[in-house]
């Protein structure tokens, strides 16, 4: 186990290092001067020179990269050019929208997918299975930003149950959750479709195993064998997918936040892109990549803790 953890940890560090180099390089290869790029075409030369010095562009490449990375490690994400505030502050304000949204969507997706997948597997080939599988085909094919627009059209514009966008803050938790509900549904549905399919096929694999036959031979009913033995074992691969989905939901929230005017990390990225505030873009992207790689790492560890066979395959 220790060898496995060390191995994963090494590849985690390598992944993060390469990720940081790639993100830094992408920002660096912008044709011309990043300072001039950020300030636009009408900037005066002395303004550009001032920003160059502020960004440390007069330093050699390696120094700038190391400065940036050591800053990140200390929690110093640099200073935003447009907001004139530390990037860390900008991020910490907005993470309280993006993170709850991703968790909310993950919970919804699980609540929908588990019963659907288990029901479909237990009725394999029946009408219920065919209906649920058909629904998941649709769920996988629906672009979530379009689904979000449809939700707004029905539940905000026609029925007026929810507001079409905006976020009132966490002072009133009920209102805050309410304003995250439509975005969370839009994010969750396609993921729920994938999860239900994984749940179903994982359960079907389990139902074909010898230990289920043993359980049935022991006198358990189909239902008992399904719930007591199959579902529990089928959960292992499903949990892995849930872990992967969390990072997808966090990153996927970027577009959904745009649609619902939610002041999260996604909107921060877009506003920074249009304001050419590259320091913010660079840091937020690195933060998202870090979260995704970290979650994948934790999922790998959890998986290995549950399933000893995996530890040797590392």
């Amino acid at each position: 186990m220790i060898r496995y953890v060390l191995g994963r940890l090494t590849s985690l560090i390598i992944s993060l290092t390469i990720a940081s180099i790639v993100i830094f390089a992408v920002i660096e290869v912008i044709p011309g001067d990043p300072a001039a790029f950020m300030l636009g075409v009408n900037a005066r030369p002395d303004t550009i020179a001032a920003l160059r010095a502020e960004m440390g562009l007069d330093q050699p490449l390696i120094t700038r990269y190391l400065d940036w990375v050591t800053g990140l490690l200390r929690g110093d994400f640099g200073q935003s050019w447009t907001y004139k505030t530390p990037v860390a502050d900008l991020i910490s304000d907005r993470i309280w929208v993006s993170l709850p949204l991703a968790i909310y969507a993950l919970i919804l997706s699980t609540i929908i997918a588990f019963p659907a997948g288990i029901y479909a597997a237990s009725r394999r080939g029946g009408a219920g299975d065919v209906t649920i599988m058909g629904a998941t085909q649709l769920g996988v094919a629906i672009p979530n930003f379009w689904f979000a627009m449809i939700l707004v059209l029905i539940f905000a514009i026609n029925l007026r149950w929810f507001s079409a966008g905006g976020f009132p803050g966490w002072d009133n938790p009920f209102q805050a959750l309410k304003s995250l509900t439509l975005p969370a549904i839009a994010l969750a549905l396609p993921q729920a479709a994938i999860l239900a399919r994984v749940m179903r096929s994982s359960l079907l694999d389990m139902l074909g195993e010898d230990f289920i036959r043993t359980a049935r031979a022991k006198g358990l009913s189909r239902r008992q064998a399904l719930w007591k033995h199959a579902v529990r074992n089928a959960l292992i691969p499903v949990l892995t997918i849930i872990g992967l989905q969390f990072s997808f939901l966090l990153a996927g929230g970027i577009i959904i936040e745009q649609i619902f005017f939610l002041p999260g990390l996604g909107r921060l990225i877009f506003q920074s892109i249009s304001a050419r505030d590259l320091i913010v873009v660079e840091s937020v992207v690195m933060l998202l990549v870090f979260t995704v790689i970290m979650v994948n790492f934790l999922v790998d560890l959890a998986y290995a803790a549950v399933d000893p066979r995996l530890r040797t395959k590392a």
Binding site: I14, P143, S247, L250
Partner: protein, 271 residues
């Protein structure tokens, strides 16, 4: 042939036909703005209605099909052209440092949140269909590399490969002449799935303004334009959405159907 395959292929062919016909004919010229005739609901003159500039939506859908198919197809092409040789190489040199490097590189690309990187790429290099293709294509490479390696490894153990080696064929020749033909079916099935993911990705990038730029028509762009109009002219948002949905559904059904038809043992990877 299964029902999935027939329905899926039919849906896909409809959109390919729409895209192909748009090269020689569309019901109206989409660069022709007709403001007085704007936001018409579907009627005899404009079968799917008009948008906020009075452009014919059916014509826009046809031109948009062209963009979607072109972007997704080239992105799959990039994934196959780079990923399959990498996978073949890794399988041929199984267990070597090269194999390890290729596989770890794949893991790394998989670990990146693709949407975020696609946004970064298009934001920095400028929003265009070409950059969208590159951004989507990069993430297809590890899919094909991993799948190719996984499928090629068991084939290397087979007797006919041993025979080919005895004949003195090089690893490269064996990969091309014996391994590749044996994994073609798998690649076709996965290609269909990646194609559908590419359509969704292109729509998402164009929707946020980082894909094809006007006047090039794109379904994602049409949805972005329709967003503020959704309450007064819902058809402008519903129609492009259904186009994306049906095209992706068609490709997915076709992929599932092809898999069952070509080889029931194949298992595709969905990301």
């Amino acid at each position: 042939m299964s029902r999935n395959l027939i329905i899926g292929t039919a849906l896909t062919l409809v959109f390919i036909a729409l895209a192909a016909v748009s090269f020689i004919w569309t019901p109206a010229d989409i660069e022709n703005l007709d403001i007085p005739n704007k936001l018409q609901t579907p009627n005899g003159a404009n079968l799917l209605g008009t948008d906020h500039f009075g452009r014919d939506i059916l014509s826009m859908i046809m031109m948009g099909a062209r963009t979607s198919i072109a972007v997704a197809l080239v992105a799959v092409g990039i994934g196959m052209a780079i990923g399959i040789p990498l996978g073949l190489l890794a399988a041929a040199r199984h267990g070597s440092l090269l194999d390890e490097l290729i596989m770890r590189g794949n893991d790394l690309v998989f670990a990146f949140p693709s949407l975020v990187i696609a946004i970064l790429i298009t934001a920095v290099f400028g929003a265009s269909a070409v950059n969208a293709i590159i951004a989507i294509g990069i993430f297809n490479i590890p899919v094909f590399a991993r799948l190719t390696r996984g499928a090629a490894l068991p084939i290397w153990e087979r007797d006919f490969i041993l025979a080919a080696r005895v004949c003195g064929k090089s690893a490269a020749r064996i990969s091309i002449e014996h391994i590749l033909p044996n994994i073609t079916n798998l690649m076709i099935v996965q290609g269909t799935i990646q194609f559908s993911l590419g359509i969704l990705a292109e729509a998402a990038l164009s929707y946020i303004g980082l894909g094809a730029q006007p006047p090039t028509a794109s379904w994602g762009r049409m949805l972005a334009d329709a967003q503020t109009l959704v309450s007064i002219a819902p058809h402008t948002a519903l129609i492009p959405g259904f186009a994306i949905l049906l095209m992706v559904l068609g490709l997915n059904l076709m992929g599932d159907g092809l898999r069952d038809w070509l080889d029931p043992r194949i298992r595709v990877v969905r990301t």
